[in-house]
C-alpha cells in the first residue's frame, strides 16, 4: 500500500460564526514531519480540531482528503478508524474507565468484532509503549487522565498514538506546559514512531520540541493562512526573530496580494 497522504486545500473554517481559517492549504505524506507554527489565536488549534471533526468547527469552504477520501464527509470516529489521530492540547478526563480498558476498546473499535485483540498481545504492546515513554506500568490501571499531571496527560496522548498506529497524526501543542525533561521524553516517543507509514503534523508555538523531532517542512500560520513555508531552518529563524517578525514582514505581503 502506498504511504498515507493528507491533503488540505483552501480550507475555510468558522467558529461560532467567526471565520478563523481563511483558505489554508497543506499536504502531509507518510514519512514526513510537518511543523505548523504561529502566534496564539491564528487558527492552529482550529486546524487540528477541524481535521478530527469537532462539531463546533464549521467548514465553510475547501477540502480535506485522506488518500483521496473525503474526510469532511466522515464523522469523528470514522476519521479515526480511517487512520487519523489527534493528540489533544487538553485531553478529557473519563472517570471510572482505566487507561488500559479505554485503549483496548479503542483498538477493538478498529478491528472486526469477531477478532478482538488478544489480552496478552495487548498487554505486551502496552508495556512496550509505556517503556518507550518512561511511563510506570501502574499507569495503565489509572482512570483515563483523571488526576494526571499536565506531563502525564501529554505522555498518555502519545501512548495512545503508539498503540493505535494512525496513518496521519496531528499533535496539538504536545509540548506546552511541559518542563524540559518531559518535552524530551514526549519528543523521543514521537520520534520513535516516525516511519513511512506515518505522516506527522506537529502544531507548536515554540521551537524547542523541534530540537528533538526535526521537521521536514515548517509552515508559519498567521490569520488563518499559511504565510510562509520552508525547511527546518525556518523554525530557527522564527525562534531568533520572534513572531513580531512574522507580523511586520510577512503579513503585509500576504494582505497586499490578490485574494
Amino acid at each position: 500500500m502506498a504511504g498515507p497522504e493528507l491533503a488540505i486545500s483552501d480550507l475555510q473554517v468558522a467558529v461560532d460564526g467567526k471565520l478563523v481559517l481563511k483558505g489554508l492549504t497543506l499536504t502531509v505524506r507518510g514519512g514526513e514531519v510537518h511543523a505548523v507554527m504561529g502566534p496564539n489565536g491564528t487558527g492552529k488549534s482550529t486546524l487540528a480540531q477541524t481535521i478530527m471533526g469537532h462539531p463546533r468547527y464549521q467548514v465553510t469552504g475547501g477540502s480535506i482528503t485522506l488518500d483521496g477520501r473525503d474526510v469532511l464527509a466522515m464523522k469523528t470516529d470514522a476519521r479515526a478508524r480511517a487512520g487519523l489521530f489527534l493528540a489533544m492540547q487538553y485531553p478529557n478526563e473519563v472517570s471510572g474507565v482505566t487507561t488500559a480498558n479505554f485503549l483496548r476498546t479503542a483498538l477493538n473499535a478498529r478491528r472486526d468484532a469477531k477478532d478482538p485483540v488478544r489480552l496478552k498481545e495487548f498487554r505486551d504492546e502496552l508495556d512496550h509503549a509505556m517503556d518507550v515513554l518512561s511511563i510506570d506500568h501502574g499507569f495503565a490501571n489509572r482512570y483515563l487522565n483523571e488526576g494526571f499531571s499536565g506531563g502525564e496527560k501529554k505522555r498518555n496522548e502519545i501512548l495512545q498514538m503508539l498503540l493505535l498506529k494512525p496513518r496521519i497524526a496531528v499533535l496539538d501543542e504536545i509540548d506546552s506546559g511541559l518542563d524540559i525533561d518531559a518535552v524530551r521524553i514526549v519528543a523521543e516517543g514521537v520520534d520513535a514512531s516516525r516511519g513511512p507509514e506515518l505522516g506527522l503534523l506537529l502544531i507548536t508555538h515554540y521551537q524547542r520540541i523541534l530540537n528533538y523531532v526535526t521537521p521536514d517542512r515548517v509552515h508559519i500560520v498567521y490569520d488563518g493562512r499559511v504565510v510562509m513555508s520552508g525547511g527546518p531552518e525556518l523554525a530557527e529563524t522564527l525562534e531568533s526573530r520572534g513572531y513580531e517578525w512574522v507580523r511586520e514582514e510577512l503579513v503585509p505581503a500576504v494582505e497586499g496580494s490578490p485574494a
Partner: protein, 466 residues
C-alpha cells in the same frame, strides 16, 4: 444529537409472563378477610395474626405520603394481595413446576447457584417456590430460610426481632407489608460465623396487578459476617403492580453485614420498600442498592448506629428512563459516639426520566466524634431528563464531622469528541462514560453480579433489542 436519543430508547428484556400459573389467587382488593385468610393459609400462630390486623388498622389510618414521588396512579383496590404459585416448595429445581422453573432458568438463577452462591431462595408472586442452602453452612448453624417457614420452625427467634427495627407505625407501606406479608427471607448468622459466599434471594412477580410483599429479617450475631444479595424482575403489563417489601436487619456487636440489591422491575411496578438496619457496637452495616427498573421507586435504606464505633455505608445507583422516577437515598441515624456513616449515591437520568436523591443524616446529642460523609453524583444524558438532590441534616451535637458533596454532570460534547477521536462510535463513547460513572458501584459487587450489572446497564443504553 440524534444518535444519543436513539440509544437510550427504553427496552426491558424480562417483560415476558408465564400466563396464569397460580394454584390459588385472591380477588383484588384489601379487606380484613384477606389478611385473616393469608394468616389462615399459612397456619400462623395467633400473635402473628394479631400483628397483621394491628398493622392493617395503621395502614388504613395513615395518609398516603405526599412528600415524594407521584403515587396517584396506585390504586390499592386494584391489587391482588396473594397468589400461591405452587402447592409446595422445592428443595431441588426438579421439584419446582416446569413453567416456573423455566422462568428462573431464563433468569439464570440455577446456573448462578451452581457457580457461586451459598444458598438460593426464589420467590414467585407470594411464595418462595425454591429454597436451598449448602449443607456445610447449615452445619455451622447458619439459618437461611423463607420467613413463613421461620415463623413455624424458629418462632422464638422470629418473635424476638420481627417488627422491632421497622414497627408497623413507621410508614404506610411498612404497615401494609406487615398486614399482608408473604415470603421473604429469614437469615440468622451465629456468633463468630463468617459466611464468605453470598446468599441470594430472587423475587419474581408473574401475575398482573400483583402485590408482592415479602418480609425479610436478618440477624447477624456478634462477630459474624454475611452477604445477602437480591434481584428482582417482573413482566411488563399495562396496569400497575406493587412491590412493597420490608427488610429488617440487626447487626450485633462486631458483626458485619452487607445487603446488595439489583432491582430491575418492569416499568409498571411501584416499588415502595422500607429497609433498615440497627448496628451495635463496632458493627458494620453496608447497603449496596441498585435501582434500574420500576415505574416509581421510593426507597431509603437506613442504618441506626446505636453502638459506639458502629459504621454504616450506603452505596447506591439509580437509573431512570422514560416514565420512571427513582426517588431514592439513605438515612443515617447516629445515636452513639464515634459512629461513622458514608453515603455514595450515583444517579443517571435519561430519556425524560427523573432521579431524586433524598437523604437524612441525624446526629443525636452526645455523639462525640461521629463522622458522616455524603456524596451524590448525577449524570444527565439529555435535555428532557432531570434530577434533584434533597439532603437533610439534623445535628444536635457540635462535636461531629459532616461532609456533603453533590455533583451534576452531563455527558459533554468534549468528552464524546475525545473518545470518538480514538475510533469509538458515539454510542460506545456514551456507554463508556456511563460505565465509568457507575464504576464505584459495580466495583463493590461480587464479580458475577458486576458482570450482570454491566450487562444490564449496557442493555439499558442499547437502542432496540429483542
Amino acid at each position: 444529537m440524534a444518535t444519543r436519543q436513539q440509544l437510550v430508547a427504553d427496552e426491558y428484556e424480562y417483560g415476558f409472563n408465564d400466563g396464569d400459573v397460580g394454584v390459588l389467587k385472591f380477588q383484588k382488593g384489601l379487606t380484613r378477610e384477606v389478611v385473616e385468610e393469608i394468616s389462615r393459609i399459612k397456619q400462623e400462630p395467633a400473635w402473628m395474626l394479631d400483628f397483621r390486623l394491628h398493622a392493617l388498622d395503621i395502614f388504613l389510618k395513615k395518609p398516603m405520603p405526599n412528600w415524594g414521588a407521584d403515587l396517584s396512579a396506585l390504586d390499592f383496590e386494584k391489587i391482588v394481595y396473594y397468589v400461591r404459585p405452587s402447592d409446595r416448595q422445592g428443595k431441588t429445581w426438579d421439584e419446582v413446576p416446569q413453567q416456573i422453573k423455566d422462568t428462573f432458568e431464563r433468569l439464570g438463577i440455577p446456573e448462578a447457584e451452581r457457580k457461586f452462591l451459598a444458598g438460593v431462595s426464589a420467590q414467585y408472586d407470594s411464595e418462595v417456590v425454591y429454597h436451598n442452602i449448602h449443607k456445610d453452612l447449615e452445619e455451622q448453624g447458619i439459618i437461611f430460610t423463607d420467613t413463613d417457614t421461620a415463623v413455624r420452625e424458629y418462632p422464638d427467634l422470629v418473635r424476638e426481632y420481627f417488627g422491632t427495627v421497622i414497627p408497623s407505625e413507621d410508614n404506610k407501606f411498612a404497615a401494609l407489608n406487615t398486614a399482608v406479608w408473604s415470603g421473604g427471607s429469614f437469615v440468622y448468622l451465629p456468633k463468630g460465623v463468617h459466611c464468605n459466599i453470598p446468599l441470594q434471594a430472587y423475587f419474581r412477580i408473574n401475575s398482573e396487578n400483583m402485590g408482592q410483599f415479602e418480609r425479610t429479617l436478618i440477624v447477624a450475631d456478634e462477630g459474624s459476617f454475611g452477604h445477602y444479595v437480591e434481584g428482582c424482575t417482573a413482566p411488563s403489563y399495562n396496569s400497575e403492580s406493587l412491590h412493597s417489601a420490608v427488610v429488617e436487619i440487626l447487626v450485633k456487636e462486631g458483626a458485619r453485614m452487607r445487603y446488595t440489591t439489583v432491582q430491575n422491575w418492569a416499568s409498571n411496578v411501584f416499588n415502595l420498600v422500607t429497609k433498615r438496619a440497627v448496628a451495635e457496637k463496632n458493627a458494620t452495616m453496608e447497603w449496596v442498592d441498585g435501582n434500574i427498573g420500576s415505574k416509581v421507586t421510593m426507597k431509603y435504606p437506613s442504618v441506626y448506629l446505636v453502638g459506639e464505633g458502629a459504621r454504616g455505608m450506603v452505596l447506591s445507583i439509580a437509573v431512570a428512563g422514560k416514565g420512571q422516577h427513582q426517588d431514592t437515598g439513605s438515612k443515617m441515624y447516629h445515636y452513639a459516639p464515634h459512629t461513622t456513616s458514608t453515603i455514595l449515591s450515583k444517579s443517571i437520568s435519561k430519556h425524560g426520566g427523573k432521579t431524586t436523591y433524598r437523604g437524612l443524616v441525624h446526629m443525636a446529642k452526645g455523639v462525640e466524634g461521629a463522622k458522616s460523609n455524603v456524596k451524590c453524583d448525577t449524570l444527565i444524558l439529555d435535555e428532557q431528563s432531570n434530577s434533584d438532590t434533597i439532603p437533610y441534616t439534623e445535628v444536635a451535637d457540635s462535636r461531629v464531622e459532616m461532609e456533603h458533596e453533590a455533583t451534576v454532570t452531563k455527558v459533554s460534547e468534549e468528552q464524546l469528541f475525545y473518545l470518538m477521536s480514538r475510533g469509538l462510535s458515539e454510542e460506545d463513547a456514551t456507554r463508556m462514560v456511563v460505565m465509568g460513572f457507575i464504576e464505584p458501584f459495580t466495583r463493590e459487587l461480587p464479580m458475577e453480579f458486576a458482570v450482570e450489572m454491566n450487562r444490564l446497564i449496557k442493555f439499558e443504553m442499547e437502542g432496540a433489542i429483542g
